[in-house]
C-alpha cells in the first residue's frame, strides 16, 4: 500500500505554500525524481529545507529557476547562482543554519522534542534573538525543532514496508528528514520485497516512510576530482 508508481503520484497532496524537506548534500543523494516532478508541476511558494538548495543549476536549483520557492532553510548557499541572484534581489527568503544545528533541529522535529541547547553559534549572528543560557559552565543557545509537510528522500534499497538502506555518503540528511515530515516519500534505486533486508542492515525503519517508489538516478558529480592511477 505504500508503493507508488512514480514521483508524481507519490507527491500527491503536496500543494503550493507547503514546506518540503529534501535530502542530499550538494548533488549527492538527492531525491532526483521527486525534484523533477516538482519542477514539472505548478506548485509554488514552497519552503524548502535542505542543506544546500541545488548547485550550479542542478538539483533543487531547478525549482529556483522556476520561481517555485518562497523560502529556503539551509546551511550553505555557495556555488548556486540562481539562489544568489534571487537572494540579493530580495525575491527569496533565506534562513541560514549551522549545518549541525540544521541536522539536529530536523532530528528534534522527528523525535518529538521541543528544542535543545547547542554551543554552536554562540556569540555569532546565528544567536541573535535566541535565548542564551549557561549550563554547567558553558554557554548555549536555544534552537527549535524543524518539521515539514513533506520529506523527499532518496535511498539505495528500500522494501515495500519502507525500510531503507543508504549507500555511502548519499546517506547525509536523508534518514533524519524522513523522520520529521507529515508525509515522507522515498525514492529508491531498488525496491525489494518485505523480508529481503536483514533487520540489522536497515538504516531507517519503515515506519518513517509513507510512500515509496523505484527510480533511476543520474548521480551528477559537482566537483570531479581524480588522481593518476
Amino acid at each position: 500500500m505504500k508503493v507508488y508508481p512514480d514521483a508524481k503520484k507519490a507527491l500527491e497532496g503536496l500543494e503550493s505554500g507547503m514546506s518540503v524537506m529534501s535530502g542530499g548534500f550538494g548533488l549527492c543523494g538527492n531525491p532526483e525524481a521527486c525534484i523533477k516532478a516538482l519542477a514539472e508541476s505548478d506548485i509554488k511558494d514552497l519552503t524548502v529545507i535542505s542543506n544546500n538548495c541545488g548547485n550550479a543549476g542542478k538539483g533543487l536549483a531547478s525549482l529556483l529557476q522556476n520561481r517555485q520557492v518562497r523560502k529556503v532553510i539551509c546551511s550553505f548557499i555557495g556555488g548556486n547562482p540562481d539562489l544568489a541572484q534571487q537572494y540579493l534581489a530580495g525575491e527569496i527568503e533565506v534562513e541560514l543554519n549551522p549545518q549541525g544545528t540544521l541536522a539536529e533541529r530536523i532530528r528534534a522535529g522527528g523525535a518529538g522534542l521541543g528544542g535543545f541547547f547547542t554551543p554552536t553559534g554562540v556569540g555569532t549572528p546565528v544567536a541573535e534573538g535566541k535565548e542564551s543560557r549557561e549550563i554547567d559552565g558553558r554557554t548555549y543557545i536555544f534552537e527549535k525543532p524543524l518539521k515539514a509537510d513533506f520529506a523527499m528522500v532518496r535511498a539505495a534499497v528500500g522494501d515495500k514496508f519502507g525500510n531503507l538502506r543508504f549507500y555511502r555518503t548519499s546517506r547525509n540528511f536523508n534518514p533524519i528528514m524522513a523522520m520529521a515530515a507529515r508525509v515522507t516519500v522515498a525514492e529508491v534505486d531498488k525496491l525489494v520485497e518485505v523480508g529481503e533486508l536483514d533487520p540489522d542492515d536497515i538504516h531507517l525503519p519503515g515506519l518513517f516512510v509513507n510512500r515509496i517508489f523505484q527510480a533511476e538516478h543520474e548521480n551528477p558529480i559537482e566537483h570531479r576530482t581524480v588522481r593518476e592511477a
Binding site: 549551522p98 549545518q99 546517506r171 576530482t225
Partner: protein
C-alpha cells in the same frame, strides 16, 4: 622569506598525532592530507557523513556517491564508516573530533575566529564551520597573515562577524606559528628568514615570542 602554501600545510601536518580524528576545512586545509608525517596514522572526518576519507579516486575508482564536504569525489580507507548528518555533527559537537584545521579570515588573540562572511559581500553560508570551530578538541587555523590590502588578520579583536568564540588554539600563517593566549598571541615558531620585527609589524594583536624563537 616566508612559508609557501605547501610549507604551511606541511607545518600543520606536523601538529597531528597518531590516531587523531581530523577534519580538514575547504581550501588550503584540504592540502594537509598530503603532509601527514611518517609513522603517523590519522582518520579524516568529513562532515557530510564519512569517517576515514581517502585520497581522490582514480578514474576506475570514481564513485559519484562518495564525496567530501567540499563536494569533491573521494575514496575511503579501511576502517571507514558512513553515517547521517545528525550523527556526524554529534561527533563534532560532542568533542569526538580531535583536530579541526580550518581556513580563516581573521583570528583574535583570545581565539575568536571569523571565517564565514564578509558583510556587504555575497554570503555563502556557514556550512559546518561553526560546529567545527566550536566542537573540535583542538582548532588550528591556516590562513595568510595579512590581507591583500596589507592589513593584519591576527587581530586584537575581530572586525568581522565571528564563526565561534575562543575556539582557536593555534594559527599557522606564512610567517610562523601563533598560539591564542587570551590577551596576546604567542609566537612559538617563525618561518625561516622571518624576523620578530616583521611578525610584530604584521600582527594587529599583541604579540609575544616564546624564548625558543629566534
Amino acid at each position: 622569506m616566508s612559508w609557501s602554501k605547501a610549507e604551511q600545510a606541511r607545518r600543520a601536518g606536523a601538529e597531528l598525532k597518531d590516531g587523531d580524528i581530523v577534519n580538514l576545512g575547504i581550501g588550503l586545509p584540504t592540502e594537509v592530507a598530503n603532509y601527514i608525517p611518517e609513522g603517523i596514522s590519522v582518520m579524516f572526518h568529513s562532515e557530510n557523513g564519512l569517517l576515514g576519507m581517502g585520497p581522490f579516486p582514480t578514474e576506475a575508482e570514481l564513485d559519484p556517491q562518495i564525496i567530501n564536504a567540499g563536494k569533491q569525489t573521494v575514496t575511503y580507507v579501511d576502517g571507514a564508516s558512513m553515517f547521517d548528518s545528525s550523527l556526524s555533527f554529534a561527533m563534532i559537537r560532542g568533542g569526538h573530533v580531535d583536530v579541526a584545521i580550518l581556513g580563516g579570515l581573521e583570528v583574535a588573540q583570545n581565539g575568536d575566529l571569523a571565517n564565514w562572511m564578509i558583510p556587504g559581500k555575497m554570503v555563502t553560508g556557514m556550512g559546518g564551520a561553526m560546529d567545527l570551530a566550536n566542537g573540535a578538541k583542538k582548532t588550528l587555523v591556516l590562513q595568510t597573515h595579512v590581507s591583500k590590502h596589507g592589513e593584519s588578520k591576527l587581530m586584537q579583536k575581530l572586525s568581522l562577524p565571528p564563526t565561534a568564540l575562543k575556539c582557536v588554539n593555534r594559527v599557522i600563517t606564512e610567517l610562523g606559528v601563533f598560539d591564542c593566549k587570551g590577551d596576546h598571541f604567542l609566537c612559538i615558531e617563525l618561518a625561516p628568514g622571518v624576523t620578530r620585527e616583521e611578525a610584530t609589524q604584521h600582527t594587529h594583536g599583541d604579540l609575544r615570542f616564546a624564548s625558543s624563537v629566534n
